[in-house]
């Protein structure tokens, strides 16, 4: 079992100057083949950014990312496109099927970019649809299907190239619990055939399907635990039954205070920040808060 994903001190910054946002803060992560990893965390904690970087859709601002032991920084955009085509399957929260193509054409699209003949790619796509149980919906358009069905089509599309890695960014985010279960069971089955699966979720219940859960907050990985298949991860379980609490301090400072705290770390790395003094004065307070939070989780 080789390491398929290796992130070393990966940071991602958005925007310029005062508007700079730190989406990922020196993340270190290593994922081996055939792992089924759930990534959890509140909105805006950098889960999606992490997924995009791992999926070669985005490039990190700092740090090194090795995909399949190859350094991603050196890859040309065409090479990245080919790797996405051949070894990565994407599943999105908003499905992202092309509305003007039929279900079958949508599933066959990655094969088209590979240059496969029409007959062959239609056959492969058809087989894949059969696998997700939608063979009788081949000539439907995405708008004619239910959310769960559409996501199954998206899964079929992600699988059609037989990718090593499947990245699912909140695959069940727009689905009801029954459809969610269907989608996750499907991912579980795929995992059994040897694929590496990475999925983002807000639902602690779904950690059941994973064998590893990574918790993120404010662009950093807070905790990384290995779990047993079929059981909800222990940390997630706690979160499930504890009422989310906010301290008085949080209420007073509000969201704006949290936002202010973030770019400050970026400023530390850059040589000449203008408002350095002001921010460093706030630093101890933020650190204790972070410690408090990690203790809570």
């Amino acid at each position: 079992m080789g390491v398929i994903i290796e992130l070393k001190d990966v940071s991602k910054l958005y925007g310029f100057g005062d508007a700079t946002t730190l989406a990922l803060d020196e993340v270190n992560l290593s994922i081996e083949q055939n792992e089924f990893v759930a990534i959890m965390g509140p909105s805006g904690c950098g889960k999606s950014t992490l997924m995009n970087i791992i999926g070669l859709l985005d490039r990190p601002t700092h740090g090194e990312y090795k995909f399949n032991t190859r350094s991603a920084a050196k890859l040309s955009s065409d090479k990245r496109a080919k790797i996405r085509r051949d070894t990565i399957g994407f599943i999105f929260q908003s499905y992202n099927l092309l509305p003007r193509l039929t279900v079958l054409e949508n599933v066959a699209l990655p094969l088209a970019y590979k240059g496969m003949s029409l007959a062959r790619r239609m056959k492969l796509a058809s087989n894949m649809l059969e696998r997700v149980g939608l063979q009788d919906r081949e000539y439907f358009y995405p708008s004619q299907l239910s959310g769960g069905q559409v996501q199954c089509v998206a899964i079929a599309r992600a699988l059609v190239n037989d990718p090593k890695l499947i990245i699912a960014d909140e695959p069940t985010g727009n689905l009801d619990s029954a459809s969610s279960r269907l989608v996750m069971e499907l991912l579980g089955e795929i995992h059994k055939t040897g694929n590496t699966i990475l999925f983002v979720t807000h639902n602690p219940e779904l950690t059941r399907y994973a064998n590893r859960v990574v918790y993120m907050r404010d662009g950093s990985i807070m905790q990384d635990e290995t779990t047993v298949f079929g059981e909800v991860a222990s940390t997630a379980l706690k979160q499930m039954y504890s009422i989310p609490e906010t301290t008085v301090e949080d209420d007073l400072e509000g969201v704006s205070a949290l936002m202010k705290a973030v770019p400050q770390k970026a400023a530390e790395r850059r040589p000449a920040p203008t408002q350095k003094k002001k921010k460093t004065s706030k630093k101890p307070a933020r650190k204790t808060k972070a410690r408090k939070r990690s203790a809570r989780t």
Binding site: S77, A81, Y113, G115, M116
Partner: protein, 413 residues
């Protein structure tokens, strides 16, 4: 790659169909451009054919002498240039002595004058009718290869007779509203003229350099001299050689005779019909090219329209571009997709334009005297040009789509 391209063509057609009205309006520019270029070139080509037909009817051995220096001749006698913009009217006019000189030139069998008499004829109701009055002699039907089947042409000598006239077929209609108004009369310069004959229909063309004989009233030259106190200006002398094979030699001889008479101050142009044809074609080509050039600008504007709409379309579909890139489309494949779309758009526009030109060509033939000729070359060129317009103007939006970062494109909802 080829199957991707084929899929792209299909996809492009689906995309264009899904925005039917927008696609149609986008194509409109190219359609108008192609229609105007193809029609203008077709009309020009048609007029050339008509001129050719007219000349073959008049006979290739017809020699025309006109005042003014219309062409430059090289030492060998060939035409080296056409003076389109010289004012050949101010170059003086021909007179009776010139007619006599042409007649006496070796090899000239017949020569007839053509003079314009100023004034308007009044029809039977006394209403003035604007028709050119041409003064000529009795040999005109012979020189023009044209017969007068209704009635007859006037005799060589009409002195002492009442004033007579021969009408072109359209002039007969205009003056008397009948096709054979033999023996009827009209007033001109206070005199009564009797209609002696009607010319058969002449082949004409809309851009003819000479007077339209179908619309003319012919009166004897002697009558005109009497009415104008021997001051009838000749705008043209028509001559026929004894041997039609010697036409160019006779043209040279007439030129020399007149040049000698005017001490080489060339104030006239002698042309054989084939040279006339060359001159006319020269002028027509120039005109056609000028108008087609203007029409081509509308094709350019059409291309810019395609670029605009494709730019909008690319921004609207940025999310789709993002999805495609996430699934592994390379920049080149995205570029190809949008290029094919713009090319299909302009090519379909071009084909619709060609179809409409054919329709307009038909309508022009039915409702006007024009007979446009749309050659297959014009159709092929129009198709290729609209294809190129699609590629050239589609490339900017296509490059924009292809270069977009996948994650930026995906965020674009």
């Amino acid at each position: 790659m080829s199957s991707v391209s084929r899929g792209n063509v299909k996809m492009a057609i689906t995309a264009l169909k899904s925005t039917k009205w927008r696609s149609l309006f986008t194509m409109l520019g190219v359609i108008i451009g192609v229609v105007s270029v193809v029609t203008v070139v077709g009309v020009g080509e048609g007029i050339k054919h008509q001129v050719g037909g007219q000349i073959s009817q008049l006979g290739r051995d017809l020699i025309t002498v006109r005042p003014g220096k219309l062409v430059n001749r090289g030492s060998a006698g060939g035409i080296t240039g056409v003076n389109l913009f010289t004012n050949n009217m101010s170059g003086g006019s021909l007179n009776q002595q010139d007619l006599a000189r042409v007649r006496q030139t070796n090899g000239v069998r017949l020569a007839v004058p053509l003079g314009l008499v100023n004034g308007t004829a009044d029809d039977a109701n006394g209403r003035p009718v604007s028709l050119p009055i041409v003064a000529t002699t009795s040999d005109l039907p012979d020189v023009l290869n044209q017969s007068v089947t209704t009635g007859g042409f006037f005799a060589p000598d009409t002195t002492g007779q009442p004033y007579v006239a021969v009408l072109g077929s359209n002039a007969a209609q205009t003056l008397f509203h009948e096709s054979a108004p033999l023996g009827r009369s009209f007033q001109f310069m206070g005199q009564t003229f009797f209609v002696q004959g009607i010319f058969n229909q002449f082949d004409t063309n809309p851009l003819s350099l000479t007077t339209d004989f179908n619309n003319a009233i012919f009166i004897p030259y002697t009558t005109a001299q009497t009415l104008t106190n021997s001051n009838t200006q000749l705008y043209e002398i028509l001559a026929k050689p004894t041997d039609s094979k010697q036409t160019s030699t006779v043209v040279g001889a007439v030129t020399n005779t007149l040049a000698h008479a005017y001490q080489n101050q060339e104030q006239f142009t002698v042309l054989s019909q084939s040279e006339s044809l060359a001159v006319t074609n020269n002028i027509l080509d120039l005109l056609t090219r000028m108008i087609a050039g203007v029409a081509a600008i509308s094709l350019l504007v059409g291309g810019i329209g395609i670029m605009d709409v494709m730019l909008v379309s690319v921004s609207e579909r940025m999310h789709e571009v993002g999805i495609r890139k996430a699934l592994g489309a390379t920049n080149r494949q995205i570029l190809e997709q949008f290029l094919i779309e713009s090319t299909v758009l302009s090519l379909v526009g071009g084909l619709i334009g060609i179809a409409m030109s054919l329709l307009i060509d038909y309508l022009l033939r039915v409702f006007t005297s024009l007979t446009p000729v749309i050659s297959w070359q014009a159709v092929v060129v129009a198709t290729i040009v609209s294809f190129l317009v699609g590629i050239v103007f589609g490339s900017v939006p296509a490059i924009k789509a292809a270069r977009k970062d996948p994650i930026d494109a995906l965020r674009n909802e």
